[in-house]
Subunit: 351 residues, 4 copies
């Protein structure tokens, strides 16, 4: 059994890790840390997990905890993952970081978008961007997996076949994304109240959201370019729902490229051929976020608008599963050479 | 492997059976019948189940289908289960009927509340009311399991320790129940539209709901009385949500009975001691339906109102799981001598 | 024009007062106080009110503000209304208090349920319980109107014709109430987050909710009894919606009373004959909270369960309108001899 | 008083017309037609309107009904408005058509997108596209007002200042729109069920939605071009909510144009200077659909993404008010020379 700890376990992402890992056949959860609930039984914090996890929340002790585990999942605000990564590196353990600290290859990108000095830029080279469908082999050999953001997961998976095959103009990409409120976490703030979120839709972080450079970095990599060589528009919106992200992606077809939607669909099917979690929908069938509710699935739909010569792609995921905890477990499975779907093989819930 | 068919598989209850059974280690689903989707791949009807079920919906052929399976789950409107039960009985197969046709021991109760003639009253004696926590041994030996209604499941489980221990006046029971809309099924009707259900609460079927006699029958049985010896109030309400039932139960303590809430709580804990799915909450902690979202769990909370000498119990379940598909699988596990939690051992989803 | 101030104007109740009063033909809002938003334009706090209110939030100054107005609406946590009431009394102005400080005729009831010493018990005698349908004439002549709680409004209006006509056993009343989350106010707390409220139903404050003695006091008054002479059960539940209360009321018919549901319905229609806001539904038509969404309407439905000899009543209101701000304006109209429906005569929104 | 009839009054749009017109000081509703509810009192169909409308639904009789009124509101499926418009024209009455039949200046656009032959192309020249902020004077003098679609209203109002001032490349416009389900009407269909819509987001009608040519026609007109001279992308999405549309509009700034967001914001404020319903938000404040819930308001927010040289605009409306019934009344006010805000001057509801 692989012994793991979840650091920052009482947020929504942490709880989703516990939900999924509690039934992973090769994993034993040995510690759950929390700032707000120290010494409280975890199942009192999340009664839905009664009898599924017997642990009590504990304070963070980096060195001791790391000594006790094979791998640690970090579900922390950005800036707080560095000591854990350093200690893991020192002790030869694995880190799956669900925050942003190790997602960027260029420290200045992180520092300018996150307005924070990075405390261990030397470790960035050790980290692999944990999108298994694109980086599977590198992840297997890594020490630090930088688990992608929820929006980047949906966006990059939607874009990858297009970029890899150079079908679209990379300078004209627009991503309009819609997310449930659980992405904002479990903290008590006005903007997350039911009375404010229900029956309401709005954009936020327009032209400034921190997931933008993450998408650009991976888009550039797919094209063999440097991160700064691509600039795209990313606009997140808040939906009156708990889970789910839909990314609607608009691309201009390369000029003079003659291709049909059917051909593009086939390119996607080929690109994601053996992928257990990715499903390309048929013509005129558009992904719905609820198809993924609680599962690690990704649905991708697409068409070509013949009038505008634009390619339109929509990608649906559950932001807490493929967009966070599920993908983190997928990465852990790769790190420890386990079947990639172990612990994340169950279908979503409908209705 | 146990070979099963799901008859009426494309409604919400049927889909929940498919979701859960598709990962049951001892079950193979061999047929899915449907009226509306014949010859359509099941995963096109429910894309959330893509790659989890490879079958195509088929029309109903009672005799042939029954010959091919060990057990059949019936998710049909009332009145349609009889031919299946007859054929199962003839061929020595098992039936788990999620409808009402075999829930009543007295045919006249069924006929007067359902306004239908029962076509096979002789089979009622072969059927067992499938509430495992109360009838486990009988279920094991039965041919036809009458899976309880969603409201009766929540109500009877909330009442059982009180009635068995004769703590309350059985003629003064009031059950005020709240359900999500999925209990109304997947048919397209005005009252189930989002625009009508959202931001709305109402009572319905007041004093006339068909789950009333079912609750009365089992309440009477717990007291060792005939069904007609007990009369209670049951009022269902429709909530603006998809899944979940909360039953709030009001009972008058037996006169002159001196007992504390702590003592009653202990009685509940003893009564449900080894039960894998039932959880009694602590003082001042009241069950929430979402704690059971997608799981087979039951949460029961209670207190005594010292001012009114009334005992108040609330029971939370997921109407599609413990209130339908999950309980049906629990019954199947008993019928085939499998571990009772197999296939229904996963936690609910939160948030 | 009547000059009014709203004290505590930036909570949900305050905002509802502003929404409705901004179009009251006889009212000028001259001041809006706030703790959190001092010096901010009100329409920045609530953009839906852009151009409907030109005021800026100000801090509270009891004496000066009271000198400037004819009446003040208090939307404050309990315990904070006393200085305002004292000053109003001194200056001969009117107070409509939407909090609990002046709702009880017996100071000890307030102090034991609210766990606070009352700072001005001598003023209780000056206050009138502001339920216009029952106390219209007293309200007209009063100085301090104690605006009823949201749950008591729904409960008492549902009970009044029964109690006044002595149709039911007053010791056997059970009220099961369901409310939207806006009743919990606009403060940022875990339990009000969208992720916690959506797809969820629970009871809370079971046997301890502070609206219980308020309902009992008014129920007793209808019977001509002292408040301590009646004890009833009141259980509130939280619904996954923003607005609306449904109170389901269970009563035992007086023994030996022979009466039909049709006769009881007629008694209700007679009792509320000229009332502009109260509507009795027809047989088998059950009130829905959304029928009142945004309006001051009350819908009451009822039946007799012949099997149990119980009378079941459901009452639907919008908790922020008839349950708070709308009723407060109705009271103000009475205080100033205006048409009772002025400013609160618009229909609710559907869907 | 202006005498009006609402044809197709029992759908959601019709009900919104009744809600608003029932308190219009210059209007008397004299007839409500319906296909499904003939001879039923309107307030039984919509209990929220109890006592606000005393009429009974009647069947359609074009000639007689038109003779009895000054104006008719048509809330019908496309293709059915022609006989009403012909009769109105014959009798010299006014028509406000909330459907699509008279929105297009070129009959072939209508026929190719709506796949229907137009039965009265000669009347198209008599119709004015009823967006008062752009066509106020023409509307005043017209006989047939073609009330804009909900998506076009949000889209065109968001685009108009940009196009009129030639700030953006008209061939690179992308509109990503999000709508509540009430836009799909009150008919009972699977895709509108609560269980299918709640906790779910999806695109639909991608590259094929019929509101596309309507937006293009008006965008072209703002630029002084023929409708066929502009081609843009429009993608609607379904949100888990009842009311509200948010249109997110992406435009490429004209090449070599040097302009700041502050300057563009001022252009919008100037363009919509005296408009009673349109509000331009401040920097970093993004419109929320709920700000317009139940009101005729439009909120427009914008910024320039300096990295991509793209202008991003979001427009929020209530699809049933400014997107349908409210705008229709605004048009009627213009037709009859009434104050433009009469009957639609109330604020939205929050929360």
């Amino acid at each position: 059994m692989i012994r793991v700890a979840i650091v920052g376990s009482t947020g929504y992402t942490g709880a989703e890790l516990v939900r999924l890992l509690s039934h992973h056949r090769e994993v034993e959860i040995v510690a759950l840390t929390s700032q707000s609930y120290v010494d409280q039984p975890y199942e009192k914090v999340y009664p839905s997990l009664t009898d599924h996890v017997g642990l009590t929340c504990q304070a963070q002790n980096v060195e001791a905890l790391m000594a006790d585990v094979d791998a640690v999942f970090l579900a922390l605000p950005h800036g707080l993952s560095v000591p854990w990564a350093q200690e893991a590196y020192r002790q030869g353990k694995k880190v799956i970081d669900l925050g942003a600290d190790f997602r960027f290859r260029q420290v200045q990108t992180y520092e300018s978008w996150y307005k924070t000095k990075h405390e261990a830029p030397e470790l960035l080279g050790q980290a692999v961007y944990g999108l298994p469908e694109l980086n599977r082999d590198k992840i297997r050999k890594s020490v630090i997996v930088a688990n992608p953001g929820c929006y980047p997961t949906a966006s990059i998976l939607g874009l990858a076949p297009l970029l890899k095959n150079k079908l679209v103009n990379p300078q004209k990409i627009i991503i309009d994304a819609k997310s449930g409120i659980s992405g904002a976490g479990r903290s008590a703030k006005l903007g997350s109240l039911y009375g404010e979120v229900n029956e309401n839709v709005k954009a936020y972080g327009v032209a400034t959201h921190r997931h933008t450079p993450e998408i650009e970095q991976e888009a550039a990599a797919l094209l063999g370019l440097a991160p700064e060589d691509i600039t795209l528009s990313f606009t997140p919106h808040l939906m009156p729902m708990t889970r789910g992200i839909l990314a609607t992606i608009y691309c201009d077809l390369q000029e003079n490229l003659s291709i049909t939607a059917t051909e593009v669909r086939q390119i996607y099917k080929d690109f994601y051929g053996g992928e257990p979690f990715i499903h390309i929908t048929e013509e005129n069938q558009w992904p719905e976020t609820k198809w993924c509710y609680g599962s690690n699935y990704v649905f991708i739909g697409l068409t070509i608008d013949e009038r505008t010569k634009r390619l339109i792609v929509t990608t649906a995921i559950d932001n807490l599963v493929k967009g966070a905890a599920g993908q983190a477990i997928q990465n852990m499975n790769l790190l420890f050479d386990l079947p990639e779907t172990e612990g994340i093989d169950r279908p979503g819930i409908w209705p």
